[in-house]
Subunit: 284 residues, 2 copies
């Protein structure tokens, strides 16, 4: 398989089932961000929460009108590209495929599957229980009800928000709509804790319906912890007793500090957080 | 130079000054739509309105924090890739360049220049004075004040809107914010005419500040025609006496029909439209 050295380069790549490190300049992912992606944690050699990632990909493909490849084929290619790698990150890009000039999707389009594997970074590999420091971002979330929730390739809002800081001690930044409603972190979903109840923003206008967000809603229900999916603003953050962030690579990040305010991590519902981490970042 | 046959394939390609038809899978344009583009009309061997395209690219690069290449270098590469081609389309993609995993832009980033040339389609080459039929689109425009106006690569809203129809007799579709304000066509800007005055929507929340939109505002002022840049809704369209669309490839498209309603093209300010077409689609 192709190996590309350099800045945070992938260890291995499969393009439509074949090793490679270059892509046709006709690909619509390049021209318009016309496609979807999934970032999947590898643990003990297995892709964690595979089915949730496939479910979201299916939903996204339906929304964009991209033919969804057979998930058995995707699973086989995922197994091939991760062969022998126990820990790390598996990224899948599903592009609409090649096209001519202009926005109109080609008919028929031949979707392209791109798998890349990466090692975990040191930040991703460290003890999650220590919590992270978080900041507020200025860049607003892009709003489009038709694109909200799915993990499409139009991610300039997150790119610009993430470019707002380079202090390595700050792990994440919170993003809002222009009108002030909290949506998510640049690469995480957000849960507020008031001591008895969880709250998280809907992802119906912007943001991504994270796989671990879905897992959190389910596990909380199973543990008898209420979780409200509701619009939240800066005032709600100020009133929160604690908060945590979720994504598929780190699982769960308790927030130790937000915009200078420190939180007592002991206040968080650790029974939920522990199960969440187990479910998100271990092969079980 | 590389030549790629197939569906609406480009005639020639230059990647960072060299012929090629493949791009590194590490390019951030592919992963996040992290870049900008320009689509430029070629007439009598020259790129029309070159300076306007460069001005918008500079603005976009500033907004995204991408190092803008020397415009003299871009002009030289444009001349090389279009050598011997009198009519057609020149597309320039400026990507942030290669990067590792994650939204954070690499420091330093090495932006990538991609030039592609295409022939004009038969629709683009025909007599513009006949006007075009236009429809209403359901897909809303993506809203983000930080990204509005510039020609970035996050174009899924236009892709989905353009996928709403495949009737070749319909040339364009109008797009709105979720809240009902008119923004633009999928690939054009829109001007309404009430018999004395022009009106066009601002591009401060979504949409692109088209080069021919800018030209229209200037030419109208020079001809003593008032043009209001103002929020417009469906009712404003219903009341309009006529409308026309602008973009850099077709120049200007008078609207003959919108969503079944027919317009008398003779009502339009043809002195403006003629000069607009001349300025947009001829080398002078």
């Amino acid at each position: 398989m192709a190996t590309t050295p350099g800045i945070g380069a992938p260890s291995r790549v499969l393009i439509d089932g074949r090793p490679g490190d270059r892509l046709s300049i006709l690909d619509r992912a390049l021209h318009y961000g016309d496609g979807l992606f999934e970032t999947i944690r590898l643990a003990a050699g297995y892709p964690c929460q595979w089915q949730r990632h496939m479910d979201r990909l299916i939903l996204g493909a339906e929304r964009l009108g991209i033919d969804m490849p057979d998930t058995a084929l995707l699973a086989a290619e995922a197994a091939e590209v991760t062969w022998g790698q126990r820990e790390g990150i598996l990224k899948l890009i599903l592009s609409r495929g090649e096209g001519g000039r202009g926005y109109a999707p080609p008919v028929p389009a031949v979707p392209r599957r791109l798998f890349l594997t990466y090692p975990l970074s040191s930040a991703q590999g460290r003890d999650w229980r220590q919590g992270v420091a978080v900041r507020y971002c200025q860049t607003p979330v892009s709003i489009n009800p038709v694109l909200a929730g799915i993990k499409h390739l139009n991610r300039l809002d997150s790119v610009l928000a993430r470019a707002e800081w380079n202090d390595p001690s700050v792990a994440e930044g919170l993003m809002f709509e222009s009108t002030g409603e909290l949506v998510s972190g640049t690469m995480t979903n957000v849960f507020l804790w008031d001591g008895r109840c969880l709250m998280t923003p809907p992802v119906d206008r912007g943001g991504i319906a994270g796989t671990v967000r879905g897992l959190t809603l389910e596990l909380a229900a199973r543990l008898g912890i209420d979780c409200l999916v509701t619009r939240l603003d800066r005032a709600a953050l100020d009133q929160a007793r604690g908060l945590f962030l979720t994504n598929s690579i780190v699982g769960v990040w308790p927030v130790r500090e937000l915009g200078g305010r420190r939180f007592d991590l002991a206040q968080l519902p650790w029974n939920l957080l522990d199960r969440l981490y187990q479910a998100a970042c271990t092969p079980g």
